[in-house]
C-alpha cells in the first residue's frame, strides 16, 4: 500500500519530550526493526556475492516452481526470482534514503524559512503544503510522474514533491514554538549566543520528531516507489524492482511465486522502518507508548 501520511500530530507525537532515545532500543520491536533493516542493508551492499544468479540472465526454465536450484522459482523469462528480489534492494533502499533526505532538505529549509520569517513567506509556504495535502499521495505522485514521463528518475522526483510538506510543517511548527519557548529565552538571557541556543537548545528538540517522521517515511517511500513502479510509472523493465515484479506476478496469476516473494520483500523492508519509527515515537512520547508502564497521573 502506498501510504497516505498519517496525521502529523499523531505520527510524531508533538508533545513534551519525556523519555530518552536510549529506552527505544531495549524494546523487542525496535530490535526486530533494527535487525530487519540491517539485514536488508547488508543484502543491498553485498548482493553481487549473495545472489545465486545474474538477475537479468535468462535460463531455459520458464515459470519453474520453487525448488532447490531456484528457491523462489523463475519468472516468465526464466530469470531467477530470488536473485531479482535480492537485487531489488539495491534500488529500493538507497532510493528511499535519498528520497527522505531530499524531502527533509527541501521541507526543512522551506519550513524553517516560513517559521523564522512568518508573514507572507509563511503564508505562501503553508498554502503550498495545503495544496499537496489536498491530493491522496499516490494520485498526485501518479499525475506528476505521468506528466514528466515515466521513468525512475521522475518517480523519485514525484515522491519528493509529495513528501516535503510534512517536514516543512513540522520544522515550521517547531521553529515557531521553540523560538518563543521559555527555556530558549532563558538560555538567551543567560547569555547564550544565538548559535548556541540553536544548536544546544532548539536542534535536539527538532531532531526527535523529525527523526521519527523520517524513519516512518523511509517505509512510506519504499511503498510509494513500489506502487508507482507497479503502475508502470517507475522502474522500467528489465530492471529488477519489487513493485514491477509484483505487477508481472499479477499477469501470471497462477504462478504465485512470481508476485508473492517480491511482495514479501516490500513488506519486510517497510515493516522494518515502521517498527523502528514506532519505537522511536514511543521513546519520545511515552503517553501513548505501547511498552512503558502506566503513566502516573
Amino acid at each position: 500500500m502506498s501510504a497516505q501520511p498519517l496525521p502529523l500530530r499523531w505520527r510524531i507525537g508533538l508533545r513534551r519530550r519525556a523519555g530518552t532515545l536510549g529506552s527505544a532500543w531495549r524494546q523487542p520491536l525496535a530490535i526486530a526493526g533494527m535487525t530487519l533493516a540491517a539485514a536488508w542493508i547488508l543484502v543491498a551492499i553485498f548482493v553481487p556475492w549473495i545472489a545465486p544468479y545474474d538477475p537479468l540472465a535468462q535460463t531455459s526454465r520458464l515459470f519453474a516452481e520453487p525448488s532447490a536450484a531456484h528457491i523462489f522459482g523463475t519468472d516468465e523469462l526464466g530469470r531467477d526470482v530470488l536473485s531479482r528480489v535480492l537485487w531489488g534492494s539495491r534500488l529500493s533502499l538507497p532510493l528511499a534514503f535519498f528520497l527522505v533526505a531530499a524531502a527533509l532538505a527541501v521541507g526543512g529549509l522551506l519550513g524553517g524559512i516560513a517559521g523564522y520569517f512568518g508573514g507572507w513567506v509563511d503564508e505562501v509556504v503553508m498554502r503550498a503544503t495545503d495544496l499537496v495535502f489536498a491530493f491522496p499521495t499516490i494520485i498526485l505522485a501518479m499525475a506528476v510522474t505521468a506528466a514528466l514521463g515515466p521513468s525512475l528518475r521522475n518517480a523519485v522526483l514525484a515522491v519528493v514533491v509529495v513528501f516535503w510538506p510534512s517536514y516543512a510543517r513540522v520544522v515550521r511548527g517547531l521553529v515557531m514554538s521553540l523560538g518563543q519557548s521559555d527555556y530558549v529565552n532563558a538560555a538567551r538571557l543567560l547569555g547564550a549566543s544565538s548559535r548556541r541556543a540553536l544548536v544546544v537548545d532548539v536542534l535536539p528538540n527538532v531532531a526527535g520528531p523529525v527523526l521519527v517522521l523520517a524513519t516512518l517515511d523511509l517505509g512510506n517511500a519504499v511503498l510509494l516507489l513500489a506502487g508507482l513502479s507497479f503502475l508502470g510509472l517507475g522502474a522500467q523493465p528489465p530492471t529488477p524492482e519489487w513493485g514491477s515484479m509484483v505487477n508481472t506476478g499479477t499477469q501470471y496469476f497462477q504462478r504465485w511465486w512470481m508476485g508473492t516473494f517480491p511482495g514479501f520483500a516490500i513488506l519486510s523492508a517497510v515493516l522494518a522502518f515502521n517498527f523502528l519509527g514506532d519505537s522511536l515515537r514511543d521513546a519520545l512520547d511515552p503517553r501513548t507508548s505501547w511498552a512503558v508502564k502506566e503513566q502516573p497521573r
Binding site: M1, S2, A3, Q4, L6, P7, W10, L29, R127, D130, L131, A134, F135, P136, T137, I138, I139, L140, M142, A143, V144, A146, A147, L148, G149, P150, G219, L223, A226, G227, F230, L231, G232, L233, G243, V246, N247, G249, T250, F253, Q254, W256, G259, T260, P262, G263, I266, L267, V270, L271, N274, F275, D278, R287, T288, W290, A291, K293, E294, R297
Partner: protein, 361 residues
C-alpha cells in the same frame, strides 16, 4: 489533557443534544467553506501546471499518435484549449472548460473523460464505502481492545498486526488474497462485480447492492456481495491498521479521566463504562480519521481494482497510467482530489458538530 478539556469530555460523555446552529457555528461553517473553495481552485491550478509540464507539445501529448499528423486537428485542438494564448489566459480557458465539465478526451476510449468517469464512479463508490465501513467497525473494535488490554499480550500482538497492516503493499495483498481465497479455496468469485450470467438490477444508484435491494432481487444482492467482500477487505487492511492505532491512543487519552473512575465506582459494568463513557468521549478525534481513510481507499483502488477486474475509476486510472493516457490521468486526479477535499470538509464540519470546542479554534 487539561482539566478544562476533561471537563468538556465529561459533558460530551454525559450526552450531546442537537441544537439549532448557533452564530458561532455558522461562522465556522463559512470559514471552512471559503477554505474549501480556495483549495478547489488550487487543485485546478496544480492540474493545469502539470498539464503544462508535459515535455514537448501538449497537443501531441493530448491528441496522441493518431491525430498529430493532421495539422487541422492540431490547430483545432490548440484553439479549443487556447494554447495559442498566454499562460494566464490558458488557465482561464482551462477553468472555463472545467466549469463546463470538460476534462478532455481519453486517448484510449476516445470518449470524453467525464463520460468515462461517470460510468466508473459507482463501482468505486460501492467498493470504497463498504471498505471504509469494514475498516471502521474492525478498527474501532480492535483499538478499544488494545487500549483496554494495554501492555498485555493482546495489546502487543495488535500492535504488530496494525503495523503490519500499514506496511503491506495493497496490490500484493490483493494478489495473495485472490490466489488463496479464489484460486485455491474457491470461497469467493474471482473478478468483476457480478457473475457472468447475472444481470444487475435496474439502474437507480449504480451501486449493485443497493439497486438489488431496491428491486428486491435477493439473489443479485447475494451475488454482488460475494464479489464485493474480498476487494473491500483487502482495501480495508491499511485502514484497519491505521484505525486500530488511532483508536487505541484516543481511548487511552480519556480512559484515565475521573468521570470514568466515577462510572466504575458507582458499579456500572465494565462494558457499559467502555462503550457509553469512554468510547463516546474518544469518538470525536476518531471522526477526523475519516478523510484519511478515504484517501487510503482511493490510493488502494488505483492499485487494486485492476487485479480484481473491478470496473471502477481505480482500474481506469491504472490503465490510464500504464498507457500514459494523460487527459484521463489528470481527470481522475482532479476528480479524486475534489472529492477528497469535500470529504475532508464534511469531516471538519462533523467534528465541529460533535465537539463544539473546535468551532472556536
Amino acid at each position: 489533557m487539561t482539566s478544562a478539556a476533561s471537563a468538556a469530555n465529561q459533558q460530551l460523555a454525559a450526552g450531546w443534544r442537537p441544537r439549532l446552529p448557533s452564530r458561532l457555528f455558522l461562522r465556522f461553517l463559512g470559514r471552512r467553506l471559503a477554505a474549501l473553495v480556495l483549495l478547489g481552485l488550487g487543485i485546478t491550478f496544480v492540474a493545469f501546471v502539470l498539464t503544462e509540464l508535459v515535455p514537448g507539445d501538449p497537443a501531441a501529448a493530448n491528441l496522441g499518435q493518431r491525430a498529430i499528423g493532421d495539422p487541422e486537428a492540431v490547430r483545432a485542438f490548440r484553439e479549443h484549449y487556447g494554447l495559442d494564448k498566454p499562460l494566464p489566459v490558458q488557465y482561464a480557458v482551462y477553468l472555463q472548460h472545467l466549469a463546463a465539465g470538460d476534462l478532455g478526451e481519453s486517448e484510449q476510449s476516445h470518449r470524453p473523460v467525464r463520460t468515462d468517469l461517470a460510468e466508473y464512479v459507482p463501482a468505486t463508490a460501492e467498493l470504497a464505502v463498504t471498505s471504509i465501513l469494514i475498516a471502521f467497525a474492525l478498527g474501532i473494535a480492535l483499538g478499544v481492545l488494545a487500549a483496554v488490554r494495554r501492555n498485555r499480550l493482546t495489546d502487543q500482538v495488535l500492535r504488530v498486526l496494525s503495523l503490519g497492516g500499514i506496511s503491506m503493499p495493497t496490490f500484493w495483498l490483493a494478489l495473495v488474497a485472490l490466489y488463496v481465497f479464489f484460486f485455491q479455496l474457491g470461497w469467493v468469485p474471482g473478478s468483476g462485480r457480478l457473475d457472468p450470467g447475472v444481470l444487475p438490477a435496474p439502474h437507480v444508484t449504480g451501486l449493485y447492492t443497493v439497486d438489488a435491494l431496491i428491486a428486491g432481487q435477493i439473489d443479485v444482492l447475494g451475488n454482488a456481495l460475494q464479489h464485493l467482500i474480498l476487494p473491500a477487505c483487502v482495501l480495508a487492511a491499511y485502514n484497519v491498521g491505521l484505525l486500530t492505532r488511532f483508536v487505541r491512543s484516543a481511548v487511552l487519552e480519556v480512559i484515565n479521566n475521573d468521570y470514568v473512575m466515577a462510572a466504575r465506582a458507582k458499579g456500572l459494568p465494565e462494558r457499559t463504562v467502555i462503550l457509553r463513557h469512554v468510547l463516546r468521549a474518544a469518538l470525536p478525534p476518531i471522526i477526523t480519521v475519516g478523510g484519511l481513510a478515504f484517501a487510503n481507499v482511493m490510493t488502494g483502488t488505483v492499485l487494486v481494482e485492476s487485479i480484481f477486474s473491478w470496473p471502477g475509476i481505480g482500474q481506469y486510472a491504472f490503465h490510464s497510467a500504464t498507457t500514459l493516457d494523460l487527459p484521463a490521468i489528470m481527470g481522475v486526479s482532479l476528480f479524486v482530489a475534489v472529492v477528497y477535499i469535500a470529504v475532508n470538509f464534511a469531516v471538519d464540519v462533523l467534528y465541529g458538530v460533535v465537539d463544539p470546542r473546535i468551532r472556536v479554534a
